[in-house]
Amino acid sequence: MKYPEGTLVRNTRAARVNHWITATCFVLLMVSGLSMFHPMLFWLSGLFGGGQWTRTIHPWIGIVLALSYAGLIVQFWRDNFWNRDDIRWLRSIVEVVVNDEAKVPEVGRFNAGQKFVFWTMALLVPALLATGLVIWQSYFGEATTIETQRAAELVHSWAAATAIMIWIIHVYAAIWVRGSVRAMTRGYVTPGWAWRHHRKWFRDLVTTGSTGPRPRG
């Protein structure tokens, strides 16, 4: 696929595929997990063929998600390093929220909010994986003490709930900030979009003659 003339590549093909695998897994895990988390949502298990199937599938999807998220980490970790810009950006969070972006300091490829999503997920996913294995009855039911499993169950639920909240923010932000969805579906953004939201990244690209996703050299 070719990107339209004059646009900038925000996410490569590999990154996009990786993201959507992760996203699909996440949604399936969220739905199946919630069905086993709260009785009001148990009906969601019907989407998976009933409770037994939901219980069976959930951990396997979890494995896929963990691997897939590892891919995202490999692809995105460098651009998610924390720097001084992020602190400045955070100071202007009110302006961010009210769409008064002109008053917000310039940021690179990712802003602090995006980095927050990235890093919390990078912590939560392994936590979910580890606790998930502990409570995976079919294979590890005898591997640990029941008290350990109880603690794992609590951590798993908490981590999942947190992850879902972050996911909601992430999804909403994508909808809120127009052009973001296309950045992950088709992979490109317009120069104006880059100028508005990630000006430093934009400058770097332009000054190095790169079309993205990273400056040359």
């Binding site: 709260h38 009785p39 009001m40 949502l41 148990f42 009906w43």
Partner: protein, 197 residues
């Protein structure tokens, strides 16, 4: 399938209720209750009074059989439990008595006469006639050859020592008397039961 109007209303009503509740996350409750208690399995099983076959406490037992003794139902044993009227066990049974069902239906139960020829390494199924005729012949041959009518002092003793018999402690008194009659009328004295072991 014909459904009456009332039935239809009931089904749709229940269905509607179930689906709307289900949509709100209240699903499953109706199904769950519908499948609650396992049906009591002995409601119409034939009950037979019997006595436990093991020790001499002789606990009263109730044997529940498949079918209601109708001619076309073969009354297999379904379940065995203690007879609550029995003054000694009052319905209780020990682990052996509680497991009686498994000895009645043991894979080790024999279902046909078998014969092992001299030197053979296996049993072969045989007919009852073959078995009983052959045993009777062997017994008679042995008895005729070895019967002791008089001892060395010339006194009448009429005994047969070369074939012996062990009688069964789990068989009835009636079996016991028949066995005694047959064994002793042959002059058998090498004769015992489990009283000592």
């Amino acid at each position: 399938m014909e459904i009456s109007r009332r039935g239809f209303i009931k089904i749709t009503g229940a269905g509607l209720a179930a689906s709307s509740l289900g949509a709100l996350g209240f699903g499953g409750a109706g199904e769950a209750v519908a499948a609650l208690v396992r049906p009591y399995k002995l409601t119409a099983a034939a009950e037979t009074r019997n006595t436990c076959t093991y020790c001499s406490v002789a606990c009263g037992i109730l044997i529940y059989g498949l079918g209601d003794r109708a001619k076309n139902a073969r009354p297999g044993v379904l379940h065995i439990e203690g007879d609550p009227d029995h003054p000694v066990n009052r319905g209780t049974l020990c682990p052996k008595g509680s497991g009686l069902l498994d000895v009645v239906h043991s894979p080790g139960r024999l279902t046909q006469p078998r014969y092992r020829a001299p030197g053979s390494a296996e049993f072969k199924p045989v007919s009852w006639d073959f078995a009983l005729n052959r045993i009777a012949t062997l017994m008679k041959e042995d008895r005729d050859k070895n019967f002791i009518a008089k001892n060395k002092d010339g006194a009448t003793v009429n005994r047969w020592l070369t074939t012996g018999m062990l009688a069964a402690s789990a068989s009835s008194n009636e079996t016991a008397l028949v066995t005694w009659k047959v064994a002793r009328s042959l002059g058998m004295v090498v004769f015992d039961n489990q009283a000592r072991v």
